[in-house]
């Protein structure tokens, strides 16, 4: 079920320096014209579609996810395909519907709760943390909560402070939650599928500005069983002089920074801490930093 790419590849002409256990290296297909392009929006939509089709207990709940086709069109077409019982439009009551989602997860279902932006998740943050994240611990394993809270996080285009906060650090600091922040379409697709299949509560932080961006995807990514492992960092670009770590939209800037450095003769490695902002990425980052002799530049938070 896990589609883990373990191929040794040459990335932009720099030979791969050997693979460490647990770090995934992506094949750069920038120069391959036969690779299909997919936007992050389509990647998320296809992931939701496939998971709902495979498991009848998966349902989507949120504001405007049904008839409006999704505030950002992520859930486009799903109401027509699966019906109003599985794609549920809610009133503007985050605390209420987040609690209802967690209750449904307590019972037997696998909800995907959409927050129009994560700024509104603060209205429901009690349910995310006290009702979802802590339940498995407090019941010593009796009550698990296989729920996904997803939505755009971080900066958008001039929407003001109340609509631009990044919640990665907030949720990443909570034990019991798994926090994911994908960058490319492949990440978005693989991680959302993994998040829906995961038995623990997952906070899935997307970025509104990334929705329209296209990335190349291979045939393996398009397969309906494609799934990425949760808990590993990813090397977007290999290098040997300095390591830059980032998550979500900042990975794009990190890659641009690496290009600029390359012109000055410095080979930068870009490690993407897309998985679990807080935990495992630390190990992988340290491993990556060791390879570039401890020179590390973290690009924290989204722009």
């Amino acid at each position: 079920m896990l589609g883990i790419l373990r191929a040794k590849v040459a990335c932009r002409g720099v030979p791969a320096s050997g693979l460490e256990q647990g770090i995934r290296v992506i094949a750069s297909r920038a120069f391959s014209s036969s690779a299909k392009q997919m936007t992050v929006r389509d990647a998320l939509n296809s992931a939701l579609d496939e998971e709902m089709s495979a498991d009848p207990t998966v349902f989507i709940m949120g504001e405007e996810v049904g008839e409006y086709q999704g505030a950002y069109k992520i859930t486009k077409g799903l109401l027509d395909k699966y019906g109003p019982q599985r794609v549920v439009d809610t009133p503007i009551t985050e605390a209420g519907f987040a609690g209802i989602g967690v209750g449904a997860a307590y019972h037997s279902l696998r909800p995907v709760i959409e927050f129009m932006t994560f700024n509104f998740s603060m209205q429901a943050i009690d349910h995310i943390i006290n009702s979802a994240a802590k339940s498995n611990y407090m019941s010593a394993g009796q009550i698990s909560v296989p729920i996904v809270f997803r939505g755009p996080n971080g900066a958008a285009a001039g929407v003001g402070a109340q609509h631009s906060q990044c919640y990665a650090a907030w949720f990443g600091a909570c034990p019991g939650l798994k926090v994911l922040a994908p960058y490319s379409s492949e990440d978005a697709r693989g991680l959302l599928k993994a998040a829906i299949r995961d038995p623990d509560p997952v906070v899935f932080l997307e970025n509104e500005l990334l929705y329209g961006e296209s990335f190349p995807v291979s045939a393996e990514v398009l397969d309906s069983s494609f799934c990425l492992p949760i808990g590993k960092a990813k090397i977007e670009r290999e290098g040997k002089d300095v390591t830059i770590t980032a998550f979500s939209k900042m990975v794009g800037y990190a890659l641009q920074a690496a290009d600029i450095l390359a012109k000055e003769g410095i080979s930068a490695e870009v490690t993407e801490t897309i998985h679990l902002i807080f935990y495992v990425s630390v190990e992988d980052i340290v491993r990556a930093a060791k390879r570039t002799c401890y020179r590390s530049v973290p690009l924290a938070a989204t722009a």
């Binding site: 349902f59 019982q85 549920v88 809610t90 009133p91 009551t93 605390a95 209420g96 519907f97 987040a98 609690g99 209802i100 989602g101 967690v102 209750g103 449904a104 997860a105 307590y106 019972h107 037997s108 279902l109 009690d126 349910h127 006290n130 009702s131 498995n136 611990y137 407090m138 019941s139 010593a140 394993g141 009796q142 009550i143 698990s144 034990p175 019991g176 798994k178 995961d198 038995p199 623990d200 949760i230 808990g231 679990l276 935990y279 495992v280 190990e283």
Partner: protein, 253 residues
């Protein structure tokens, strides 16, 4: 009691026990949060076509919570089989209901959701009300039951219970409306059992409870390594360090 042999293996805290296979999803630590959760359970029951209902219990203190009305609105919109039970003992911790609620008629607060007021000190009335509510909820959607009851002791171990009400009030209710006394009188009046039989039953039950307490006290406290278990269902062996990051404390399973 926080012991290892408890249903939450000592990790639930003093008020948290669960039994999922019995349909008991536990007491929630955040006042009012259990109502949306209960309505979520009802959502899952309707989704799975279970023909079952959910009883979401809360007190008069929680009855003013906003999330309760948010979830109730959705339950009514989607006709969920949810029964909201307000156990009105007239005091939210130390605050009397007339100081907390503009409208203490909690069964009417549902507005578009029907409500019933039940004498919570009469066990048979409660039974009939629950039966009616279940039939109603399965056919027509949510209903509110307000159980008029009373709390003799304080809110918690540290509350004497007499700083916000008179002792006469407490003893008065105990004399006039005590639920167990009422059942006892009914049983004796209808000759269903003799005084002695009832006394024997009481002795037996007290003995059972005492034994259970003794057994619970014998149970050990959980192992310190249990601090790190059950954080996730499917963990990744994350390492947890001590204060200076040199001492590896545990690996989260």
């Amino acid at each position: 009691m926080g012991r290892k042999d408890g249903c939450s293996k000592g990790k639930g805290g003093s008020m948290h026990f669960y039994k999922k296979e019995g349909g008991f999803y536990g007491g929630h630590g955040i006042v009012g949060a259990q109502v949306p959760l209960g309505i979520g359970l009802a959502f899952a029951q309707k989704y799975s076509k279970d023909e079952n209902v959910t009883f979401a219990m809360y007190g008069d203190g929680a009855a003013n919570q906003g999330q309760l009305f948010e979830a109730l609105n959705m339950a009514a919109l989607w006709d969920l089989p949810a029964i909201l039970v307000c156990e009105n003992n007239h005091y939210g911790m130390g605050t009397a209901e007339w100081r907390a609620a503009k409208s203490p008629a909690y069964y009417k607060r549902g507005d578009y959701v029907p409500g019933l007021k039940v004498d919570g000190m009469d066990a048979l009335a409660v039974k009939q009300a629950c039966k009616f509510a279940k039939e109603h909820a399965l056919k027509n959607g949510p209903i509110i039951l307000e159980m008029d009851t009373y709390r003799y002791h304080g809110h918690s171990m540290s509350d004497p219970g007499s700083t916000y009400r008179t002792r006469d009030e407490i003893s008065g209710i105990r004399q006039e409306r005590d639920p167990i006394e009422r059942i006892r009188k009914l049983i004796l009046a209808h000759d269903l059992a003799t005084e002695k039989e009832l006394k024997d039953t009481e002795k037996e039950i007290r003995k059972e409870v005492d034994e259970a307490i003794a057994k619970a006290k014998e149970s050990p406290l959980p192992d310190p390594s249990d601090l790190f278990t059950n954080v996730y269902v499917k963990g990744f062996g994350v390492e947890s360090f001590g204060a200076d990051r040199k001492e590896l404390r545990a690996v989260l399973p």
